[in-house]
Amino acid sequence: MLEITTNHYLVLSFALFAIGIFGIAARKNMITVLMSIELVLNSVNINLIAFSAQHGNLTGQIFAIFTITVAAGEAAVGLGILISLFRLRETTSLDQATDLKG
């Protein structure tokens, strides 16, 4: 019987983190990028909770709740920007939003 250890959690977390980073860097659709950001944030949450369980205290879990709260705010702001961009450019492609090019 395979026992689930902290290492397993960490592998899962790293996989999710890597998928999230890939999504942010490689995808052009802004919705996909926002979702990838959620993946990254949640991979961190898994990490925090895994270590919380390992050490037997609640600090990591409380920290994860804060992260979820911030992620909710981030998603709201990100979707607000997305809607504004869409109204302006009629697209959600990030390649079309390069006005800050130096």
Partner: protein, 696 residues
């Protein structure tokens, strides 16, 4: 009483202050005249009292001790290096000196000055600028009294310049006309030439003796004979240098060759001014100064002879010019120059007391003659040409009588003042063996008699030659003008009796009081002998020669202009040799020669300097500097600015620009790029953490 001597110069200045500033334009002519004449009258009385006090208090002293007061230190110059006595303090005090010489001058100036002031009331009554006239006249008296009372050369010089200033102001009194201001400037500038030399002489005295106070200086000079006779400058001994410098100063003030040209032109001023300043007082200042400095002249026989020669030459030269003048004042002006020449002849031959004696007698009779001519001009309504006069004695009896006395006095007719003084001068010239100078003096005496009688005959005798209007206007002058004439006429008769030469009393009674009085100011120098006394017979021959010369002059004048021939005689003279007369009438063309040489030379010099200024200073130096500045310096500065300063600035800019051009590449605007960089950065940090830090 003599303690009040400071009041004598101060009071006239006060009068000038009152009339010229405090009460200017606020009082009537009468009040102005009362102030001016009253003050001079007061000064004259005060002077007499002070002179009396001084003479009685020094009675019996031989020589009389001068009375001297220093009132305050005027110029505290501090330590200076002197040849005699090394380093010493040199301070000039404002002080006055009473001695027989200043007493004589004081008497003459205040006495004649007062009567000329009185005369001016009448003469100037109808003129504009009445108060201004009396202001200047008072100012002149103050300066003149300062000149003769000063106890050192500096105070004397202040008076000397003061009278020069007043002379200038009064010559140019009628400043609305063209000529008088010109004449005033001419007088002033000519005098400056002499003053320059005078000041040089004073500097030489200060540098060598460290004092210019008469009572300290003269004994020092007498005691340092070897220094005085040693070589100083320009091949001259110290004594000669100083004597010459002072004499050149005197030629300016006392109108001697070559600086006499201003005096005849000075007649453009009102006639009382001519009488007071340009005949009786100011022009004799040079003689006074030379006599005051007698010790210096005694130590320099060469310069003394030069002075005598210039004096005799001036006397003769001016005398001949006077013979051919038609302006009555010009005749008197050249006569004054001529008589001043006599005085310098006396100074030159060492007859210092005779020079001062002649100053005194001349002051009386020449002031009288000028005032008489003023009376004539007044009556003629401003006419000065003797060709338009004639027969005036019928209309102006008092003027004619007094003028005749003046003429006799100046001609040297025995028993009149001029005879005694002139005879003494000629006697001194002959006594020292200067026979050429004596001959010139004697000839001048004859000429003097001749031209004065010519003037007298042309003016007062014969038929009236002016217009009907002028004849109708003829009138004797008011009493304010006649009384001075009468008083001065008496002076012209009796002034000579204070100095009767020993020979004239046939060596029986010594009546030459004047000589004994003024002799006291002569500084005796060891080794310089007094002139030997001549025999009675020799003296009598000289006196006879003087009388003969005067007689000859009068006789010739009588033959030509006498016997009612008047202008007919004049025409005969002119017709005798017209070119000669023309030369004399035009004053030997001296003014023209000066104009052609000195004045034009000066202008040419000034023009040369102007060209030098324009071409060299402005053209070369100033513009050259500008060219160097503009074309070289500013060019260099410009280049430095452009390439070094601006270069640095641009370099900074370019560096930043290039750097930021590189940095700008990072800002692609693609969010994906940023994310990638973020991730890579994070990866790098993790690697750094794991590889580098863990290992240590």
């Amino acid at each position: 009483m003599k303690e009040l001597v400071w009041l004598i110069p101060v009071l006239p200045f006060l009068g000038a202050l009152l009339n010229g500033a405090l009460l200017r334009g606020r009082i009537s002519k009468k009040a102005a005249a009362v102030i001016a004449c009253g003050i001079i009258g007061l000064v004259a009385v005060l002077s007499l009292l002070i002179i009396g006090d001084y003479l009685t208090s020094t009675e019996g002293q031989s020589p009389r001790v001068p009375f001297e007061r220093d009132y305050y230190t005027w110029i505290p110059a501090g330590a200076i290096h002197t040849v005699v006595g090394g380093v010493r303090n040199f301070n000039v005090g404002m002080g006055f000196l009473l001695d027989p010489l200043s007493c004589v001058m004081l008497f003459v100036v205040t006495f004649v000055g007062f009567w000329i002031h009185v005369y001016s009331i009448g003469y100037m009554a109808h003129e504009d600028g009445f108060q201004r006239f009396f202001t200047y006249l008072n100012l002149f008296m103050g300066a003149m009294l300062m000149l003769i009372l000063g106890n050192n050369y500096a105070v004397m010089f202040v008076g000397w310049e003061g009278v020069g200033l007043c002379s200038y102001l009064l010559i140019g009194f009628y400043f609305k006309e063209e000529f008088p201001p010109y004449a005033g400037r001419k007088a002033f500038i000519t005098n400056r030439v002499g003053d320059f030399a005078f000041v040089l002489g004073l500097f030489a005295l200060i540098a060598n003796f460290g004092t210019i106070k008469f009572t300290e200086l003269f004994p020092k000079i007498a005691a340092n004979r070897t220094l005085m006779e040693g070589h100083y400058l320009l091949g001259l001994s110290l004594a000669s240098f100083i004597a010459l410098a002072l004499f050149i100063g005197a030629t300016g003030k006392s109108a001697q060759i070559p600086l006499f040209v201003w005096l005849p032109d000075a007649m453009a001023g009102p006639t009382p001014v001519s009488a007071l300043i340009h005949a009786a007082t100011m022009v004799t200042a040079g003689v006074y100064m030379a006599v005051r400095s007698n010790v210096i002249y005694q130590l320099s026989p060469g310069v003394s002879l030069f002075v005598a020669t210039i004096g005799a030459a001036t006397a003769l030269f001016a005398g001949t010019i006077a013979l051919a003048q038609y302006d009555i004042k010009k005749v008197l002006a050249y006569s004054t120059v001529s008589q001043l020449g006599y005085m310098f002849l006396a100074v030159g031959v060492g007859a210092y007391t005779s020079a001062i004696f002649h100053v005194m007698t001349h002051a009386f009779f020449k002031a009288l003659l000028f005032l008489g001519s003023g009376s004539v001009i007044h009556a003629m309504g401003g006419e000065q040409d003797m060709r338009k006069m004639g027969g005036l004695r019928k209309h102006l009896p008092v003027t004619a009588r007094t003028f005749r006395i003046g003429t006799l006095a100046i001609a040297g007719v025995p028993l009149f003042a001029g005879f005694f003084s002139k005879d003494q001068i000629l006697g001194a010239a002959a006594g020292h063996g200067h026979w050429v100078l004596y001959g010139m003096g004697l000839l001048t005496a004859a000429l003097t008699a001749c031209y004065m009688f010519r003037a007298f005959r042309l003016t007062f005798h014969g038929e009236f030659r002016g217009t009907h209007e002028q004849e109708h206007h003829l009138h004797e002058s008011p009493p304010a003008m006649l009384w001075p004439l009468r008083v001065l006429a008496i002076g012209a008769i009796v002034a000579g009796y204070v100095g009767i030469p020993l020979a004239m009393t046939f060596d029986t009674v010594d009546l030459n009081n004047f000589d004994h009085l003024v002799d006291d100011v002569l500084v005796s120098v060891k080794g310089i002998a007094n002139p030997e006394h001549h025999t009675l017979g020799f003296e009598l021959i000289l006196i006879g020669a003087s009388i003969a010369a005067a007689g000859l002059g009068i006789f010739v004048a009588w033959r030509i202009w006498g016997r009612r021939r008047g202008m007919a005689g004049e025409e005969a003279v002119v017709g005798f040799y017209p070119p000669g007369h023309r030369v004399l009438e035009n004053k030997y063309y001296v003014d023209e020669i000066y104009d052609a040489t000195v004045i034009r030379g000066y202008w040419a010099f000034a023009r040369g300097l102007y060209r030098f200024d324009a071409a060299f200073i402005d053209g070369f130096l100033v513009n050259g500097t500008r060219n160097v500045t503009v074309h070289l310096l500013s060019l260099g500065s410009n280049l430095f600015d452009k390439y070094v300063v601006d270069g640095l600035v641009n370099l900074t800019g370019r560096l930043l620009d290039g750097f930021s051009r590189g940095l700008r590449r990072l800002q692609t605007g693609y969010v994906a790029n940023y994310a990638l960089i973020l991730a890579m950065g994070m990866f790098a940090l993790v690697v750094f953490y794991m590889v580098v830090l863990r290992r240590g």
